[in-house]
């Protein structure tokens, strides 16, 4: 798994590639915590190269969502692969995030 972060104004852009399994989710969570400060209003995740997401990866997304949603912010997931999209759907999370 690789993750790149870019913060501009209130927008945190993240590009995640590869498999987001339990171990790599821990790495991602640590990086998210580093970057997700109070100035961030929106988070956009480029998922075009995300091939797999585990429950731990879903927890990372929920952590981001729960941090920014109460402040009126949004979590946007872009270019989901069908596999990742299906996981989000069956857990009920697809209706929480903006999916583009």
């Amino acid at each position: 798994m690789e993750a790149f972060f870019n913060k501009e104004g209130g927008l945190l852009s993240v590009k995640v590639s590869g498999r987001l399994d339990t171990i790599s989710s821990n790495d991602l969570m640590a990086k998210v915590r580093e970057n997700l400060d109070d100035t961030v209003k929106e988070v956009a995740v480029d998922c075009s190269n995300l091939t797999y997401i585990s429950s731990s990866g879903l927890r990372v997304l929920m952590t981001i969502y729960k941090k920014i949603a109460p402040k009126g912010g949004a979590l946007t997931l872009r270019d989901l692969t069908p596999q990742v999209g299906e996981v989000l759907n069956i857990t009920g999370m697809a209706n929480l995030f903006n999916i583009e």
């Binding site: 929920m62 996981v87 759907n89 069956i90 009920g92 929480l96």
Partner: protein, 375 residues
């Protein structure tokens, strides 16, 4: 400091002495202002009242000199002037003026001989839309300072008014009218008309609020007593209904498929979908829950079973119920795409998602039963 040091206002000796007292007591007035502002803020916050504004000020020296020039002989000493320190609490609703007044009464020593309810002073043919004015002292129990012996003796004024009263008073003040000065009748008539209109508007705002509160109370009672057929489905009623955790059982059943953790999320976004599907009352939601629970579980089992996903959100239960409802009633992929766009916003991905779900659900037993009647 002597009268000679004072800025020249052309006042007589008596008024100049009062002005001198004012200067000497300025530190005390500043402390009074600070205490009053803090205490009022605390009282309003504790009572959970939503107010439009809280202002405090110390009368400026120029303004005091002007007042003394006009009616200085009325006052013996500075302590006869009760508005050197002034506070104003501006509420949204007229009944909250009385609530604030009661809080002020509990926190400060109110001088009832000087306090006036200007709201009740107007005769039928007079004009004005005024506020409630309390003249108060800071009680020793609130603050005592041996270096400022006058802190608890000097009085201050608290004005309590609605936002509309405030607008009227501010504009009236801005026009320069002072009581006792002859003003053209047309001017009085116009102010009178506006005052009446604002008073009516304040009454209407209060009425609207109390009607909404009555409605909410009624909804609460009906929901608590399970009279769902009498409760129209809307934001208030659905929110109240959700407090009963109606989908808890299904959520837990779904979670048990993989011993999943449940993350609490709101099901409110599904209200729009249900309204769009023609649900009219909470009884329709209850019917959805009771009649489709097994099918929704079957759908969740087909999706989650065989995976190792051990996290779901609580709103998945209603999502699955509505998915089944749409499919059972012939909504197909299009209906599902509508469900997703109403809850998650429009996206080309909604069609992909609808196709995936439809395909998987097509083989489930509930899809093979005859369509049912819609609520």
């Amino acid at each position: 400091m002597t009268a000679m040091d004072l800025k020249e206002y052309g006042l007589d000796l008596h008024c100049t002495m009062i002005l001198e007292e004012y200067r000497e007591l300025l530190p005390t007035f500043r402390k009074m202002e600070k205490i009053v502002k803090k205490e009022l803020g605390k009282l309003v916050g504790k009572a959970g009242l939503l107010i439009s504004g809280l202002e405090t000020r110390i009368k400026a020296e120029d303004s005091l000199a002007g007042k003394l020039e006009l009616k200085g002989s009325k006052y013996r000493t500075i302590s006869d002037l009760t508005d050197i320190v002034g506070a104003r609490v501006i509420t949204f609703y007229s009944e909250e003026v009385d609530k604030i007044a009661s809080l002020v009464d509990s926190a400060f020593e109110v001088d009832w001989n000087e306090s006036v309810d200007k709201r009740k002073q107007h005769a039928l043919d007079s004009f004005g839309y005024d506020s409630l004015h309390y003249i108060c002292r800071i009680p020793k129990s609130l603050c005592e300072d041996s270096s400022m012996p006058e802190l608890n003796n000097l009085r201050f004024e608290i004005q309590m008014r609605t936002a509309l009263q405030h607008v009227w008073a501010t504009i009236n003040h801005d026009t320069g009218y002072k009581s006792g000065i002859e003003v053209p009748k047309e001017y009085l008539r116009n102010l009178n008309r506006i005052a009446g209109m604002l008073e009516l508007a304040d009454e209407q705002f209060s009425l609207i609020r109390s009607s909404i509160n009555d409605y909410r109370r009624k909804i609460n009672n009906l929901v608590e007593n399970g009279k769902f057929e009498e409760v129209e489905l809307d934001g208030d009623s659905f929110r109240r209904y959700l407090e009963l955790d109606p989908f808890e059982r299904l959520t837990h059943k779904i979670a048990l498929i993989n011993q999943a953790e449940i993350q609490k999320t709101s099901s409110l976004p599904y209200l729009k979908v249900m309204k769009g599907l023609g649900f009219r009352t909470l009884a329709d939601v209850e019917k959805l829950k009771n009649e489709y629970e097994d099918d929704a579980y079957q759908l969740a089992l087909s999706q989650l079973g065989g995976t190792d996903i051990d996290i779901i959100v609580s709103s998945v239960a209603l999502q699955d119920l509505l998915t089944v409802y749409i499919l059972r009633n012939g909504g197909g992929e299009k209906g599902l795409a509508m469900l997703y766009s109403e809850t998650g916003g429009s996206s080309p991905y909604n069609d992909v998602r609808a196709r995936q779900v439809f395909k998987k659900a097509s083989s489930l037993p509930f899809m093979k039963r005859e369509p049912e009647e819609q609520p």
